[in-house]
Symmetry: C2
Subunit: 428 residues, 2 copies
């Protein structure tokens, strides 16, 4: 039976889940995968956590040099997170000929090239299924099942915290701040929720997934990013009446104008398979030129779901005849001549507060028309407020981001007609 020695760096949530799976399933891996998988080294300074998980003190170290010089360690699993020390630990492990498995999306999104080059130069493997969408096997699907396809588009609900918040807002009619606070109390949102609610986490994952989908490295700074902190329950409910569900979508598209990558609150049709993805569940919806539409759905976070992805990478890597595999085909060269499209196009939903008097709609429609934005629906909501204003909802036909923004700037100047533009939400 092939021996596979594992080092785990970091016993946080995912590290702990990974440790538990590896130790509890030892017999299972032997029986069904013919692999003798053993945890040979654990790098962790939190004594309480080590005790809690029952880690043998003999395999605990605080020193990366000790990990990488251990000849019994074949695969180093980095689950510390963040950039440093994770990055130097990974580079060190690769340079010592160890295969690396990680769940570190931020690191891959920012330093993929450097890690890739180090892995290639040292003939080692680098795996990161767990970096995107937890237990959902989206990376293996892209690399091992979609080979016959050019991926045309990818749309994902790839952040559980924001989907939980949006679901609660929709189901219970509560405000963003209120739901966020409740989510923080329950541990569903971080004390500093910025990475999740402002879309950074989703942007990291989209950078990785669209790089794999489109066969070209998509730099993080090409990802347009807008979070959910300004989403109101009003828009969620108005959208629902119009047939839409509001989701924080990560969208990647191949268009004649270049690759398009963006994370923002998005209205999707209630019938779309992504619309029924609720709570902390995640899903990725792909369109390939041959396979058509497919969707993968599951838990995007959590100790055991993400640990399941980490361990699947370990078994996948260990099962290789040559114990070496680099599942990426990106390279710096791949970016040359690649165009990115920041003037993407879609339909738009606008909510504004306007003066309730004749001629106002004509002015707004005029500003739209002069910027080549064509309207497909205009709805006035409710009766005039004390200040004489009413709510106006506009839905456009497909138009360009730059055009709609120019139209909005023009409408904002119509101070005798428009009180405020309160929301602009993209419709896919």
């Amino acid at each position: 039976m092939k021996k596979v020695g594992i080092a785990i760096l970091g016993l946080g949530t995912v590290g702990g889940g990974t440790y538990q799976i590896l130790t509890s399933k030892k017999q299972y891996f032997a029986k069904y995968h013919n692999l003798d998988v053993s945890v040979e080294s654990v790098l962790e300074i939190n004594e309480a956590r080590l005790k809690q998980l029952g880690v043998d003190p003999a395999i605990v170290t605080k020193n990366i040099a000790e990990v990488v010089s251990n000849p019994n360690v074949d695969i180093v699993v980095e689950l510390i997170g963040g950039i440093e020390a994770a990055k130097s630990f990974i580079i060190t492990a690769l340079k010592h000929g160890k295969t690396v498995v990680t769940a570190n999306k931020e690191l891959i999104a920012k330093y993929w090239h450097e890690i890739e080059e180090t892995a290639k130069a040292n003939h080692t493997g680098f795996y990161f299924e767990a970096s995107c969408v937890g237990g959902v096997p989206i990376i293996r699907t892209l690399t091992e099942s979609m080979q016959a396809n050019e991926i045309i588009s990818i749309k994902g609900i790839i952040n559980g915290t924001t989907n939980y918040i949006l679901t609660k807002m929709a189901d219970e009619g509560r405000d963003f701040e209120e739901v966020l606070k409740a989510a923080q109390k329950k541990g569903y949102a971080e004390a500093d929720p910025t990475a999740d609610v402002e879309g950074f986490d989703a942007a990291y994952k989209l950078s990785i997934l669209s790089s794999l989908a489109f066969n070209v490295k998509v730099p993080l700074d090409k990802v347009y990013r807008e979070g959910i902190s300004k989403v109101t329950k009003e828009d969620i409910f108005l959208g629902k009446e119009l047939g839409y569900t509001l989701k924080l979508l990560a969208i990647g598209k191949k268009t004649p104008a270049g690759s398009e990558v963006r994370v923002h609150p998005t209205f999707i049709k209630n019938e779309h398979p992504l619309a029924s993805v609720k709570g902390s569940f995640n899903a990725v919806y792909l369109v390939g030129d041959n396979v058509g539409e497919i969707m993968l759905y599951g838990k995007g976070a959590g100790a055991l779901p993400t640990g399941s992805a980490v361990v699947s990478d370990i078994i996948f890597a260990a099962g290789k005849a040559d114990h070496f595999y680099v599942p990426f085909i990106n390279s710096k060269d791949g970016e040359k001549g690649v165009r990115f499209n920041d003037d993407f196009s879609c339909e738009y939903y606008l909510r504004m507060s306007v003066i309730d008097k004749p001629g106002v709609l004509a002015k707004i429609a005029g500003a739209m028309g002069s910027n080549n934005v064509s309207l497909r629906e205009v709805i006035q909501r409710g009766t005039a407020q004390q200040d004489g204003s009413v709510t106006l909802i506009l839905l456009t036909h497909i138009t360009n981001e730059k055009s709609i923004k120019a139209a909005i700037r023009e409408i904002e100047k119509l101070t005798d007609a428009v009180v405020s533009i309160d929301a602009m939400i993209r419709v896919e």
Copy 2:
């Protein structure tokens, strides 16, 4: 660049799709997979089809001996379907050291052991992603992404024809026979629809998928099978009112009493992710002990989606360092001591026509109780018919198949109370 020579046996729907993908994506495979993939041999007797696809006559043959003796052929793709000649062609190819890729679910469900032994004895590979659920990468997910999991249950909508028919019946309030005829006219159902509507096709796939999920060969004759030909629009609508959607589900479960494998019309909650899988779309919903719930969704049939799965197997096999891979871990030995549970348990929906007079419900409830079946809901529908009967809907708590069947036999004998038992549908 590594050369990979392909032989295609059979240019039907999937064979044609596969041929189109392989030829149109030749540059793509070279660029992104570093593989020089070429179709070296095609076995097909239909001259019109060969012409339609523009196959070079120099590579066409009618003789399997010519295919397997061709040293340029590395991978033989069997897309003839059915048992013979497909089976002998596959065995012959394996014996000549060729890796085999197939979409032939019936053949695998019935002769997996023999094919597996031949592949192992000849150190060749045998791949069959396309045999189950077309473009949905469910087999690769089970073998390459779920290694850290014991699969607890698998539930699938894995036959597009029946899902199309049930969706139409539900959305348009039409009868089974009427929808089937329309589907046949449009080519969505075969002239002889038995394999689809009676659940044989789903049973083949469930046998394969549950074998992989549960790490033990599940023989086809252990799969309980019941089709949709007796499903009525009445039950679809009554179920909907009660919060259920009717689907032909393929269900595999690991229970303390043994493995449970069954295909039958099933009520699932409207909120279940499988309930929104409509028309000809397919989906497989898995629960793993670590990953929790995941679902894969997509097109389960069609030339290009299924061709996409065939080609993904080709690229996966060709990318192996040793060009050899057997993705199954089943064996005849695996079956020893494996128990199968034919007395499965679930909730039940019963619709019956009963005499509208006092004491009737007591008799029915008594027959249920004496067979240990506990009722959770009893609903009388509508007013008495001319014959004095009314419709009665019963929903049970979880009970055993044998108990409910014994209760039904007893109720059928209550001729002074019960006119007919019109439907029994399992609820998951």
